[in-house]
């Protein structure tokens, strides 16, 4: 299958797979970090041992997931220079600024403080330790913000001027205020909370259904998860609705599936940019958009019903069909998010920077053999790691709060 693809298609596939893999983990990171920070705040304020155990258990799952987010993110960052040097050459003066700020303002601090949060568990004052998880959460949000500013520029370029064959930065305020970026930021943050809420509810429901020893622990956790999932779903949908206002005409036309409208947009773009095919792959755009919308409807009804059910204690304790459904729903927000990204990114084609640089012109001067090699290397490494890490995540979730390494007091030998 790969043999029939040209270098651009291979490079796009590589980017799509690594970005997709990255986002699977990042989405849960955004949601779980927030929930862990809130639970740890509760634990720190009340000194409640139960909330401290919740912090450690959900924190452990958060870290297993986070580690994969980091390593997939590394490959993402370097891929711009590796595969898309036409983009860095053309738009680097503008696009590079927000990427640079992401690494320095957000990720540098996030990684440093996360290390301190994990390894400094019993060494730091509890308020200092609590402040760390909040910094980690807020810098994760900052990271998402700057990445979506970068992505928003590709979707809807603003604040630049064309100088020869490169772009020049003229209005950074316009880039940061880009509606295509800000709406997506709200949409992604809401989506992260949906993923995190459904995850927490689903794992808790597993323990309630299996009647494991930790009933109180998981009843509390289930309420947190369901309590977050419903408002987060509504918030995400609200930003998603706004997103349609900032959408490119070709993406909208492909989504509507209206043949006349598609032809009109194509004719308009050909008149503006010269002869060529300016339509995104219509099947992918409408298919992924439809998947996202359908699953959104499912999540909305399910989280609303769950919200009502959780108000009744006997149901939280013993409604096992509901518990089973909650667990079965865990993958749904992930699939919805990936569909959303396919919709957004496929719908931007054939442009890398909308209206300015075509994806095929953004490609690095790389041979097919080199591109194929890197694609196979990344697929093999991440393929294995994704399977192993999801297995570990499920295993840790099943084992419950008594077997958590995070914050475990290890026998300390005196320093000399």
């Amino acid at each position: 299958m790969l043999g029939g693809m040209n270098v651009v298609e291979l490079a796009r596939l590589q980017f799509a797979l690594t970005a997709g893999a990255h986002f699977l983990f990042v989405a849960l990171t955004l949601g779980l970090a927030t929930l862990v920070a809130v639970i740890q705040t509760r634990a720190t304020l009340s000194r409640s041992p139960e909330h401290l155990r919740m912090t450690r258990f959900w924190g452990q799952l958060y870290i297993i997931n986070y580690a994969m987010g980091i390593v997939t993110g590394l490959v993402m960052e370097f891929q711009f220079g590796l595969s898309w040097s036409g983009l860095t050459h053309f738009a680097g003066n503008v696009f590079g600024a927000s990427l640079a700020l992401e690494t320095l303002v957000a990720f540098f601090v996030e990684a440093t403080f996360l290390g301190l949060w994990i390894f400094g568990w019993d060494r730091l004052n509890r308020w200092a330790h609590l402040s760390l998880i909040w910094v980690v959460t807020l810098t994760a949000y900052a990271s998402a913000f700057w990445i979506l500013i970068s992505n928003g520029f590709l979707q809807n370029p603003v604040g630049y001027e064309l100088a020869g064959d490169t772009l020049r930065l003229v209005d950074f305020g316009a880039i940061v205020g880009n509606p295509a970026a800000l709406v997506a930021f709200g949409h992604v943050l809401g989506g992260g909370l949906v993923v995190g809420g459904f995850f927490m509810a689903g794992v808790s429901a597993y323990h309630l259904r299996r009647r494991t020893a930790e009933q109180v622990f998981f009843r509390k956790s289930l309420r947190v998860g369901v309590g977050v999932a419903l408002p987060a779903t509504l918030l995400t949908a609200a930003f998603g609705g706004l997103g349609f206002e900032t959408m490119q005409p070709a993406k909208l036309a492909a989504w509507s599936g209206d043949a006349a409208e598609i032809a009109r947009v194509q004719a308009e773009m050909a008149a503006r940019y010269g002869p060529g095919d300016y339509l995104p792959p219509v099947g992918w755009v409408s298919g992924s958009g439809m998947t996202m919308m359908t699953l959104f409807a499912l999540m909305l009804f399910f989280s609303a019903a769950s919200f009502l059910l959780m108000l009744f204690k006997p149901l939280v304790r013993g409604f096992r069909l509901w518990h089973w459904l909650l667990t079965a729903m865990i993958p749904v927000p992930f699939v919805t998010m990936i569909s959303g990204w396919i919709f957004r990114e496929m719908g931007r084609q054939p442009w890398a920077v909308y209206g300015l640089l075509k994806t095929s012109d953004a490609l690095s001067p790389i041979s097919e053999g080199q591109m194929l090699t890197s694609l196979i290397v990344f697929c093999a490494v991440f393929g294995v790691l994704i399977v192993v890490n999801y297995w570990l995540l499920a295993r840790q979730a099943r084992r419950g709060p008594d077997e958590v390494a995070l914050g475990d007091r290890l026998e300390l030998v005196p320093t000399f």
Binding site: I64, A67, L99, A111, R168
Partner: protein, 251 residues
Amino acid sequence: MEIFILGFFTIGYLVLAGADIGVGMLLPYLGRSADERREVITSIAPFFLGNEVWLVAAAGVLAGLFPELEGTLLTGNYLAVVALLAGWVVRDMGLWLRGRVDGPHWRLCWDGAIVAGSWTLALSWGAILSGILVEPLTGLVAALATVAVAALFATHGLSFAGLRLRGELRARAVRPTGAADERGTYALTAAALAALGVLAGIRLPLAASAADAGTLALLVPVILVLIPFLVLSQAWVWWTFRHRVSGPSYL
């Protein structure tokens, strides 16, 4: 100033994360049993996240301040950079995963990933750095230069392990260099890695490939203001874990 910023993060990476790479390369020598290896890993565990992020920052600075060079440098070293990334990912995952399941085969497998990943990282850096320093570089000379850079990472790892470990593990770390003064050895290997970074920087067309003036005027002051805060956040980690390893950690 933009050259100083790129150099700051790149050299910071080579010196700080270079020690993690070196310790990973020599893990089988430093730790002979699974428990010993866990203690050796504890010497780098609290730091490796905060150390590797210096390269993420350097790449971000490259993208923001030297976008043209970002493309030519990475595309020009395509396979070496792909190997570097693969080694990095495998090494990190080895560190994260080795303790997640309690079993000798599991630990051995991920200890192997740490060692293989660290060697891949060191050799990829060797290929990239020596390729920048001596051009064109082919055949035996290229192989020797690559191995020499990797050996420098390994020595730097030993000197760091000598500073952090105790007892027999510390003795093992000190033995090959034969130095009684551990701080002095660390300073020496750190200086050698920093010098390598400076020389590579001199060979690159940095001044000619900086971003447009408008971009620099925005980013350079912001980054200069940020740097003290970033260093302070890292200093908190170094201060918290300033003592020698006194027992196993989370990893």
